[in-house]
């Protein structure tokens, strides 16, 4: 390929990333929680490949900065009601699925509700299950179920090393800046999720001065955009947090809490919620309330799942792919 042609292709990629339209379409394809197809931008043209082939011998793939990580959420260890009498088993299925991925994830992010009742025995069981994961580095943020004893003291003692306040922190990985936020502490009557002044001040300082081309990933338990206020599915002060990352070229927000996939793209920010590994919840407004939703036993593994996130240096964006624990097609 001539240098000129390569330049044009690179330019195409950048244009596509900036105007948002093709990226939106790209991410719309991501919303298909099917059998794990991955859409990538290669030479400016979206192309789908099965999971196994994305990091194959294609000349555009496998750049040294590329990596993948997995998000799991809402394991609710300790829950044992009809919606799923064995949440530890479905968590283990999720871990096996992650371990079987052709491209090993660099780490796992758990977006909260690790436990059902913040009991030490529940956290112990979770630790045991996660020991079986090939990915040894696991990052956590708490859910409201992890704050039930002494405002999250047990959670912080086990998973809060290096964090501040109720457990927030940030880290860098191969040029991508990750921020773990806690929006389940000090919740006010009648409100939704809440980040609080102290954390917002910390976040503002944390991202200040970073190059706008640094991809940002924010992860927190409760969605950082308003999905359904009646059920508390949103964060009261998330607007302020998002204003601090508005200038960045690529922002990915990963949340849990609602136990179903929802996505939204707003400019350069893409929002995504993950399935739970424990039980599903009803779609907004389709039931008297949120909470565990019972499905026929043979359907359960299709409504639980994991989220694979691929960072491609060439695209400078993150591709988010959900896959259920069991595929719907044989």
């Amino acid at each position: 390929m001539t240098n000129k042609k390569q330049d044009l292709i690179d330019q195409d990629l950048q244009d596509l990333n900036n105007d948002g339209v093709d990226r939106r379409g790209f991410l719309k394809c991501m919303a298909w929680a099917g059998t794990g197809l991955v859409w990538t931008m290669s030479g400016g043209i979206p192309a789908s490949r099965a999971f196994g082939k994305i990091y194959g011998k294609d000349k555009d793939s496998g750049k040294s900065g590329d990596f993948t990580f997995v998000q799991i959420s809402d394991s609710h260890i300790g829950f044992n009601k009809p919606a799923n009498p064995d949440v530890t088993a479905t968590l283990q299925t999720a871990i096996h699925k992650i371990d079987a991925m052709p491209q090993k994830p660099d780490f796992i992010i758990h977006t909260g509700d690790l436990s059902q009742l913040s009991k030490p025995s529940e956290f112990d069981t979770l630790d045991q299950a996660l020991k079986g994961a090939a990915a040894k580095q696991i990052y956590f943020v708490p859910g409201e179920h992890d704050m039930l004893s002494d405002n999250g003291a047990e959670y912080l003692q086990r998973f809060g090393k290096g964090t501040q306040g109720s457990g927030w922190y940030s880290f860098d990985h191969k040029g991508v800046h990750f921020v773990g936020l806690v929006n389940v502490a000090n919740l006010k009557a009648g409100g939704m999720g809440s980040l609080g002044h102290e954390q917002l001040e910390w976040l503002e300082k944390d991202v200040k001065g970073r190059s706008a081309s640094t991809p940002i990933v924010l992860f927190a338990h409760i969605p950082l955009w308003t999905i359904y206020p009646d059920w508390g599915w949103g964060t009261d002060d998330s607007e302020q947090a998002l204003s601090y990352v508005k200038r960045f070229g690529s922002v990915t927000v990963l949340n849990g809490h609602i136990h179903q996939i929802m996505q939204k793209v707003e400019g350069k920010v893409s929002f995504h919620t993950a399935m739970s590994t424990a039980f599903p919840q009803p779609a907004p407004g389709t039931a008297p309330s949120a909470g565990p939703m019972k499905v026929p036993a043979d359907q359960l593994q299709r409504v639980l799942g994991i989220t694979d996130v691929n960072y491609l240096v060439s695209a400078r964006s993150l591709a988010v792919v959900d896959s259920p624990l069991a595929d719907s097609t044989p």
Partner: protein
């Protein structure tokens, strides 16, 4: 003043008090002839229930007399808490079928919520 026009005001005191209590809407007042002993601060053995179901408190507003004990029972598959917004009472986390009780010894309005799911709010009115 003639007896005719002031008939109401000239009723015996116990009857007046009984009438006032009757019209105050108080549910758990025991019929009692010794009304001259009954004052607002007298403890009552009344009890009332609040059901926690589908992420809501039912009834959302509960009115009880001073001294009443209110018991919340969680009927959801998800744990909840009962926390006074003014710091008056705070339950431990209550899983399915677990209960929390509180005895209200002072009149007043007590808004509360579930600290795990803060959209769930309720109120106990003690009078």
């Amino acid at each position: 003043m003639t007896k005719k026009t002031l008939r109401f005001a000239s009723l015996p005191v116990p009857v007046l008090i009984a009438l006032l209590l009757l019209f105050s809407g108080s549910r758990s007042v025991e019929a009692n002839d010794q009304t001259n002993n009954q004052t607002k601060d007298q403890p009552s053995s009344a009890s009332a229930e609040v059901a926690i179901d589908n992420f809501s408190f039912g009834p959302q507003t509960l009115t009880v007399p001073v001294g009443a004990t209110v018991t919340w029972t969680n009927r959801d598959d998800i744990p909840h808490t009962v926390v006074s917004t003014d710091g008056v009472f705070k339950s431990k986390v209550r899983d399915t079928d677990e209960k929390f009780s509180y005895t209200f010894t002072k009149a007043g309005t007590y808004p509360y919520f579930c600290s795990v799911h803060p959209k769930m709010t309720g109120k106990v009115v003690v009078q």
